[in-house]
């Protein structure tokens, strides 16, 4: 497990969220257990459990006693909503900062985005 982006438990939570957002982990399907995560990422099981518990607290996962953790129905929509609201902060702001540094105007930026759409 790399240490590139913050506490490990948050990285674990973010990876499971990603899997839910991109559809590789369906709603009502079983999430990996803390032991599986621990073995896969070579991290302490308590850290893996902390990541899972955060997702339970956020309502993304829920516990079925004695069975494991499952993806809540509506979790994907909830995550998408949150990520959209974070989009401006996480992506637009750094983009604008760099553009400003280089003297690229907002108009030029808009042209770039249009061009990128056309070329796609």
């Amino acid at each position: 497990m790399n240490e590139d982006s913050g506490p490990i438990f948050r990285q674990i939570a973010a990876q499971i969220e990603n899997a839910i957002v991109d559809g590789s982990l369906d709603e009502e399907s079983q999430a990996p257990s803390s032991n599986e995560l621990s073995a896969f990422h070579r991290i302490n099981p308590a850290t893996a459990a902390k990541g899972l518990n955060q997702l339970v607290a956020d309502g993304v996962l829920y516990k079925r006693r004695g069975v494991g953790m499952f993806v809540t129905t509506g979790a994907r929509e909830q995550l998408l909503k949150r990520r959209r609201s974070e989009f401006a902060d996480q992506y637009v702001r750094p983009l604008m900062t760099e553009a400003q540094k280089l003297g690229i105007s907002t108009r030029e930026l808009a042209t770039m985005i249009d061009r990128w759409e056309d070329e796609r």
């Binding site: 590139d4 621990s38 750094p94």
Partner: protein, 314 residues
């Protein structure tokens, strides 16, 4: 530092002196039940001495050591629940690998024979060969096999990886984490290969020149420091609010390891024209060890022999 209720082991104001040399100086700490603690520090910091005290191999000059609720020294009830995998463990001359393992099997009540067998197979240990004729790495693998298969409630590994190649070390980490997940217990692991094991640790105890430098939850620690890069004056300005542990400057740009007095997010940093990334545990340990070496405590005279001392006492 803080007393943990139901700790597996506690060390209270422990000082250990050998003739003139002070190996541990007023150390107070505890080891939570069912956790993996990384015992870190430079050679001669006192790591091995601390492990020897926890395993009843020595009696402290001053202070109190409690393991599983009692003083471990000459206490069989406690000692059979402790497994200490020593660096450079010696075995009786005639002992073959299988003899070392069967001796351990009789010693530890929670011994798991099946686990021992699978580790022997994984490490490709020759069961009929004399332990003293094995390579350094193979001897380490015998120690690791005993340490894991003992399933002892308190298991200490003192640099257990000597002579092991990267593949065998990975095998050790993988088997440790898998077995620990199924059978939680109190594990103390001293190592210099910090980067390799940083993800495994729940707790970090860093000692330096016989004193506790850092005693922290591993994740809290990760969040408590950051490596910040940017224009030298802007990085320096950060030093007014946070403790700068180290700063390097080149061509008007600085990179600093910062101990955060409050969390900084990307927005905060961006507003200051800086970028930040988490400081890897190994870098943080190096920085902290150097930081205190550069500013010694007033009553701590550096001992020129301390770096070699662990070698002498063994």
């Amino acid at each position: 530092m803080n007393a943990i209720p139901d700790a597996a082991a506690t060390v209270t104001d422990v000082t250990m002196r050998y003739r003139e040399h002070t190996a541990l100086d007023g150390v107070t700490t505890s080891f939570a039940t069912d956790g993996i603690t990384g015992l870190l520090g430079r050679n001669g910091a006192g790591k091995t001495t601390l492990m020897q005290l926890l395993t009843g191999h020595r009696v402290p000059t001053r202070g109190r050591v409690q393991v599983l609720g009692a003083d471990p020294y000459e206490n069989d009830a406690v000692l059979q629940r402790i497994c200490f995998v020593k660096e450079g463990q010696r075995y009786p001359d005639h002992f073959r690998v299988r003899d070392a393992l069967s001796a351990a099997a009789t010693l530890f009540p929670s011994w798991d024979e099946e686990l021992a067998r699978s580790l022997v197979a994984d490490f490709e240990l020759p069961a009929r060969r004399q332990v003293n004729k094995l390579s350094r790495g193979m001897v380490s693998a015998v120690g690791i096999t005993i340490g894991l298969a003992s399933r002892a409630p308190v298991t200490l590994f003192d640099e257990p990886y000597l002579g092991l190649d990267a593949v065998a070390r990975q095998l050790f980490y993988d088997r440790l984490i898998a077995d620990y997940a199924e059978n939680p217990r109190t594990i103390v692991l001293s190592t210099h290969l910090i980067e390799e094991i940083s993800g495994l640790l729940e707790h970090v105890l860093l000692i330096d020149a016989g004193r506790v430098l850092l005693d922290s939850d591993a994740e809290d620690l990760r969040a408590s420091a950051m490596t910040v890069t940017g224009r030298a004056d802007r990085v320096a300005a950060l030093g007014r609010e946070h403790e700068m542990l180290s700063t390097e400057t080149l061509a008007g740009s600085s990179r600093a390891v910062v101990r955060l007095s409050r969390p900084l997010d990307d927005g905060d940093l961006e507003a200051r024209g800086l970028t930040g990334e988490p400081t890897p545990l190994q870098q943080l340990v190096i920085t902290l060890s150097r930081h205190t070496a550069a500013a010694p405590a007033p009553d701590r005279a550096p001992d020129p022999r301390s770096a070699d001392f662990e070698e002498v006492t063994r």
